[in-house]
Symmetry: C2
Subunit: 400 residues, 2 copies
């Protein structure tokens, strides 16, 4: 019943009616507002639901309303789009996605980036500390993470200017200043917080779905040379803070119920606060394209720490959540060489450059390169749903 909409949905579309992700769009001549994607269309929710909470350029007001309201709205949109009786009333509120402008769908409160893929963390360890164990001693005890810059989280398609900064290759005696020569991507999955929490309290793994509204794609652009010189002892800073791109559509958790899988075995057993009653690992299949060519297919279900464990960890010290908080998984890499979510891994730090169809090869990104990340997941009633895409093109460094 609910798998079929009166809106025409092409076979293989990211947005069957079982998905209904939320975004912010601006129709020609109109103002930015909240919509839900269906097939090739976006439904203007302020118009269709006659609710001012959607007549805003961000999802935050809706996110703050909490899970019962999220579920109510999702049920109502599903009803409107599947029951032919509503067609006449609803059709005028549909806009073709290719005729609107999509923007960053929410105001980012705090941005946290985790490091939760064992394959990614091990690859980095093997490359940079070949004589030590690939994982740091703390890695299997807690989801390592850090705060990023919320103010430079941008929407898909926003230009990414190659950053300048200090870098000091090991063979040089002194650092020099200039454009990053090791500009990289990180293919990640992001989680958007709706319901806030109070300072001094914790959010347990069980409460994940009460607080997290939905899931998006993230490209955490990284300047490896800047990062490599700056990061001891306080972590990444300017090597990351120049730009982080987020996909325009937030897929609600309710659409991802069929994508839930078991969190991989964790050994040693995590401390109590990190245990899950019911796993929130997700079977998402990511795809990374460099200039339209697929260079990697990272599997999200291989993530060592689940998003519910990340949330519980982030708040176990009493840190509060705010509506609009974004936390990302860290680079998603699988066990196979063509499942790695960053160029530094795909090229094994330059030892094995990525060969492209046009005959060129890449160790890191060149100016004008475009990187696009997509993902799909099992959806309700045997459908397959998609996340749309997050894309960005590298613009040359600026002299000042």
């Amino acid at each position: 019943m609910t798998t079929t909409s009166w809106v025409p949905v092409t076979e293989g579309s990211d947005f069957p009616v079982t998905n209904l992700p939320y975004g912010v769009f601006t129709p020609e001549g109109g103002s930015a507002r909240v919509g839900a994607a269906i097939g090739e269309y976006v439904l203007d929710l302020a118009a269709a639901l006659d609710d001012a909470v959607f007549a805003q350029p961000s999802l935050n007001a809706f996110l703050a309303q909490g899970r019962p309201r999220w579920q109510q709205v999702r049920a109502r949109i599903t009803e409107l789009l599947t029951d032919e009786a509503h067609r006449e009333l609803v059709e005028p509120a549909l806009h073709r996605i290719d005729e609107v402008r999509l923007s960053l769908p929410f105001e980012v409160a705090d941005y946290v980036d985790f490091y939760a893929s064992e394959y990614h963390a091990s690859n980095i360890g093997r490359m940079f500390r070949p004589d030590s164990p690939p994982l740091m001693p703390n890695w299997k005890h807690l989801p390592v993470g850090y705060h990023g810059r919320a103010g430079t989280v941008v929407g898909s398609g926003e230009p990414v200017v190659r950053p300048c900064g200090q870098r000091k290759p090991p063979q040089d005696a002194e650092p020099t200043f200039g454009p990053s020569q090791r500009l990289d991507i990180e293919a990640e999955v992001g989680f958007v917080v709706g319901t806030p929490s109070s300072m001094g309290t914790r959010v347990s793994t069980d409460e994940f779905a009460e607080h997290v509204f939905g899931v998006c794609l993230v490209n955490d652009w990284s300047a490896r040379d800047i990062q490599g010189w700056e990061y001891v002892p306080l972590g990444p800073f300017l090597g990351k803070s120049f730009a982080t791109s987020v996909s325009p559509w937030i897929v609600p958790l309710d659409a991802l119920e069929p994508a839930r899988v078991a969190t991989p075995p964790q050994e040693p057993e995590p401390l109590d606060y990190l245990r899950e009653q019911q796993s929130w690992a997700l079977d998402l299949a990511l795809e990374v394209r460099l200039n339209d060519e697929v260079v990697s297919r990272p599997p999200f279900d291989t993530l060592y720490w689940s998003p519910a464990q990340q949330l519980a960890h982030m708040t176990v010290n009493g840190a509060s959540l705010r509506t609009g908080d974004l936390y990302a998984s860290g680079t998603v890499s699988g066990p196979e060489p063509d499942q790695r979510g960053s160029l530094i891994e795909l090229s094994w730090n330059g030892h094995d450059p990525v060969k492209l169809d046009d005959g060129s090869q890449r160790v890191f990104l060149e100016d004008d390169d475009t990187v696009t990340i997509r993902a799909t997941a099992p959806g309700i009633e045997g459908t397959r749903i998609g996340f749309g895409e997050v894309t960005g093109t590298v613009h040359p460094a600026r002299e000042s």
Copy 2:
């Protein structure tokens, strides 16, 4: 002329008319609004200036108006408070500070914490890496910093709940979970950004006063045991993110002109983008009290990297600034043992506990301890101005 207000100001007050710091206050039975401190009073600016930008519970709208407006408003307030002719009209807009509630004066956009005191960084290095040089190789080339959690920056007087988390002392085989046993303070100075900047552009050291509105005091509470276990390789996270306290008054840069001193000699000479035409080092005298007893007097003029250098570094990669961004200096420590801005330094990691007048001693904070940071600076026309205080009391850890 401008040193004398018709408002009575006690000798030694933090708030002579040459200071005029801005804050947010709530009068009994009224709503939160912007005010300026004068002696024992706060001037209701929405009432005195008849300007709705001040009739808000945060300074952000005023901060966004930019430097020419900041200077205009300061000149006007000075005129109102020094010219007896305005007394009759202005007096009803004065409230006794001890009869209003002060709150966090601005909405924090991004929060960055630097590590800019050479004495502090060297002390930490000497304690934890006794066999290595006290400073990391990058430290004298760039102001090391990282992003903190903006959502847990709180106003002075807000309770600080002792955080729980994972910690693993070196002698233990496995981490355990529980309340932090090494809860510490960090006495810092914060800089509040007013004028934003665009992504992809840099803010030079010369543009510091165009972007930074003013200066406040910061206590960056730190759980050393949590931090020590988590921080490799991505830096501090839960060891810091549970709370950061900020003073209620933002002292405008214009009030601190007489406090400007030369940035200490920097060797090696910093890269071009970090050089200052005119130094923005500031001669602030900090004072740290533990349960009303002075335990340290950190001198801010010993800071290695000036706040203008910190700002230029933070944006050199093209990261944008937003109104409400806060960046803090990192712990301020001077060369003398009684000038150290954290307990871990004052007690030399427990080897030399801090002795208090009541006969007790401290290595780290106990429940119910209150920490208060104050500061003064040379003001206009030979006055001495103060920052008020940032205070916080440790509440016991919560079981869940």
